[in-house]
Symmetry: C2
Subunit: 185 residues, 2 copies
């Protein structure tokens, strides 16, 4: 893995566990074993580093939705939920949750990328829900986009709230999402 990719990986871990305003170039430097100044060779500023990190999330998210297009809606939904599972195992929150609370302190380039990312996530999940409802695997009363909002906020909020209550609460939220979609009578 290139140094650039290493920096992005470490930045990702730091932002998702500590938050954007709590991590520093010194943290990356310590973790990676290169000097603070050398990070500026790869990313001109913290804002630039943040922007590139969000862009990499956009790419991964687009890939996830595209690559899973041949799968069933249930399989696609499970792949989507698995992102949040990975965050939970790493004691992290999701990037939308982390950066939305810090939004007022971010520059325009990061804000705009975040808007793009959240729109991709929302539309991607909405499509899965539409397809699942069309073929009668998912049952829900709301508009698909509304149901997507509810599921995303359950997962995003579940990662955050369960840090304070119990890991089991996150599991319970996931279980309920699936139960309500699949076993509604």
């Amino acid at each position: 893995m290139s140094t650039r990719e290493n920096i992005l990986t470490i930045t990702d871990e730091l932002i998702l566990s500590k938050g954007y305003n709590a991590f520093s170039f010194a943290d990356i430097s310590n973790e990676l074993g290169i000097k603070k100044a050398s990070i500026h060779y790869h990313f001109s500023s913290k804002e630039e580093l943040g922007k590139c990190l969000i862009k990499s999330h956009i790419d991964k998210t687009r890939a996830l939705f595209n690559d899973s297009e041949t799968l069933t809606p249930t399989e696609r939904l499970l792949l989507f939920i698995d992102i949040y599972n990975q965050r939970k195992s790493a004691h992290q929150v999701c990037i939308v949750g982390s950066l939305s609370t810090d939004l007022m302190t971010l520059g325009d380039s990061m804000k705009n990328e975040m808007k793009e990312l959240s729109s991709i996530i929302l539309n991607g999940l909405t499509d899965i829900l539409i397809e699942g409802k069309r073929e009668n695997t998912f049952r829900f009363a709301d508009q698909p986009r509304t149901k997507a909002l509810l599921i995303i906020t359950n997962l995003l909020g579940g990662l955050q709230l369960s840090r304070l209550t119990s890991d089991a609460d996150f599991e319970e939220i996931k279980r309920s999402i699936l139960d309500n979609l699949l076993n509604n009578e």
Copy 2:
């Protein structure tokens, strides 16, 4: 209002809009018109200030649930949701959302108070849901505590996500929560 209360009010605004690690004693100093050092007269450290702020939220939240005990479950639920409405109008997120993303950077005293606060919120809403179901105003399939988790994460996450998508999405989330509870057929 006393200086101490003023500091707490300003800290509240700063944490809910910018986040814990983005606000400083200098921000409070500028806003309030007293010197940085004088803040330490009222609160020995940033951690102490944070702890006291959470404690004030605990008191207000306890009061909200207690004072509304004579009202109907629907009225009590609307009062609960109104907290999130107030945050939304001020372009803020909720304190649980804000401080849970920064949790790893907080001291034990703040962490513990946050656990206390989230437990009070969760239990308070659970009680409202139990009461509403018992008297047949609310309809939901999940366990009351699970339904409370879902509603809290919808509101908490809705405040955050709607910063990136649209204010209307927050309204839609609220509408759906109430519709699903009250008009389920």
